[in-house]
Amino acid sequence: MTHATAEPGFRYEDLGRLMALMTGDEKHGPAATSTLDVLWVLYDRVLRVDPASADEPGRDRFLLSKGHGPMAYYAVLAAKGFLPVDWLPGFGTFDSPLGHHPDRVLIPGVEIASGSLGHGLPLAVGSALGLRAQGLHEPAVWVLIGDAELDEGSNHEAIAYAGSAGLEALHTVVVDNDSATHGWRGGIASRFEAAGWSTATVDGRDHAALHAAFTTPHPGRPHAVVARVEKKF
């Protein structure tokens, strides 16, 4: 799908208003707001992708694995011109492309259709391998997962393999709002470190800290940023 939308010039301060246009998935409200700052800093200052380059082979890839509570994602995509703001009020309705989980087939700029947990990181590993196999060494691959999503075993298969393979193009952001029932003794970053990843753990509301963590060099290793935000409940 192609959709030409002029850069609307939205700022971070506008995201709350954009999110308020979406109703009907309030149960996922905490999940939605937990990712807001991470998404904004990535799309505003880090990812090399915009609506004009959304189909270019050399673009950076952002894979939202934590597909539930996508209101912040849609708000940021709207703010950056990937989708029209007037799509937002239709959120979740039959005629809207915007579901309570995002669908890559329906929404410009969305790299994967997600919702079921534990798929994004393995798909991101495959994307990083596929880009490398085609000689595309510039694009970075980013995937956002949640701390409870980290429970899924498929993620641990991906973490172990990517660390061992030294997939430098791969970046994972774990938004940690302390929603996993059993938690992660020793901290989430320790799981990635044990597998050979570069890691940083930062305040997930601090834009400067997020930016610094996102842009930390990590030669020869994949990079994980644990963004800690307020508890889910």
Binding site: V105, I112, A113, H119, G126, S127, G130, A133, L136, E157
Partner: protein
């Protein structure tokens, strides 16, 4: 003669040299055979270790970047274990790839039930848009693999087996059922490696024998034409779960009064080891049992 799995190694290794879009993903199984290819194409022959969820996810990720992924392990670990990945990481992403299994229904009976996957085709039948090839001979396997690799972004499953017919059927690389024998009393559809047994079982009987090396899409026109020339008594002989294609046959004959006898691997776990031949007989798929069941059905 090499096995289908050995042919998979040789033909895929060769095509990795020729087609830069092709990439192979393995989870240890069959890795030894692909070491020379991996040395030549380290970025396109990927072994993720014993991680079958990642195996499928990586295949899906490769497809997202425009490559044509070939994903391989034993059928039970390729289709059954990571089934939700197969469903979401290809179909739901609107991408494609080629899943190539080995071990089939009971290729290693001494290995027991953990390495048997008679339900793989039935499982894939719950998903939309998968082409399913069931070659009956290594030559057919090679032709169908080449076909699958070249099939754009289609989703294709190629089911390889130790079981094989003595000779390949010419032209079995197409999507159509082939007429091997013509008769009037009924139509027997033999799938892949079941053909030799079916031909032996129907020797001297007045039945049409159709052969399928591709079961999805199901050649509805082929079955309808055969039924029109013979009778609407249809026997399905499949090397996987009995009844897997019964719904497809029923759909093909929706407006024709008909009867279907679905034969294949039984649902009940056999809990026996032994040989392929012993398991074929235990499921009633040897020539003698087939003849008895087919003649009883056709009356």
């Amino acid at each position: 003669m090499d096995t289908m799995r050995e042919r998979f190694i040789s033909v895929t290794s060769r095509l990795l040299d020729e087609d830069p879009r092709l990439a192979l993903v393995l989870a240890e199984i069959t890795m030894d055979g692909f070491r020379p290819a991996q040395r030549r194409h380290p970025d396109r022959v990927i072994n993720v270790g014993i991680r079958e969820q990642l195996l499928i996810g990586v295949g899906g990720g490769l497809a997202l970047t425009g490559l044509r992924p070939v994903v391989h392990t034993f059928a039970s670990f390729l289709v059954e274990r990571p089934f939700e990945q197969v469903k979401l990481d290809f179909g739901h992403q609107d991408t494609g790839g080629v899943l190539v299994s080995s071990s089939a229904s009971y290729d290693w009976p001494a290995g027991g039930y953990t390495h048997m996957a008679p339900g793989d085709v039935a499982l894939l039948d719950t998903l939309d848009g998968w082409t399913v090839h069931v070659p009956g001979h290594p030559d057919e396997a090679e032709a169908l693999l080449r076909h699958a690799y070249a099939a754009g972004d289609d989703r294709v499953y190629v089911r390889l087996s130790q079981m094989s017919n003595a000779a390949p059927r010419p032209g079995a690389d197409g999507l159509r059922f082939q007429t091997v024998r013509e008769g009037r009393a009924g139509v027997v559809l033999a799938v892949g490696p079941m053909l030799d047994g079916v031909l032996a079982a129907t020797e001297g009987l007045d039945v049409t024998v159709l052969y399928a090396a591709t079961v999805r899409p199901f050649d509805e026109a082929g079955l309808r034409a055969a039924v029109a020339r013979a009778s609407a008594d249809v026997v399905l002989v499949e090397p996987y779960l009995a009844g897997t294609s019964a719904a497809a046959a029923g759909q093909a004959l929706l407006d024709v009064p008909h009867r279907v006898l679905p034969l294949g691997v039984g649902r009940a776990e056999l809990r026996r080891f032994g040989t392929i031949e012993e398991h074929t007989a235990a499921h009633g798929l040897d020539a003698g049992s087939l003849r008895q069941r087919i003649t009883a059905f056709l009356g």
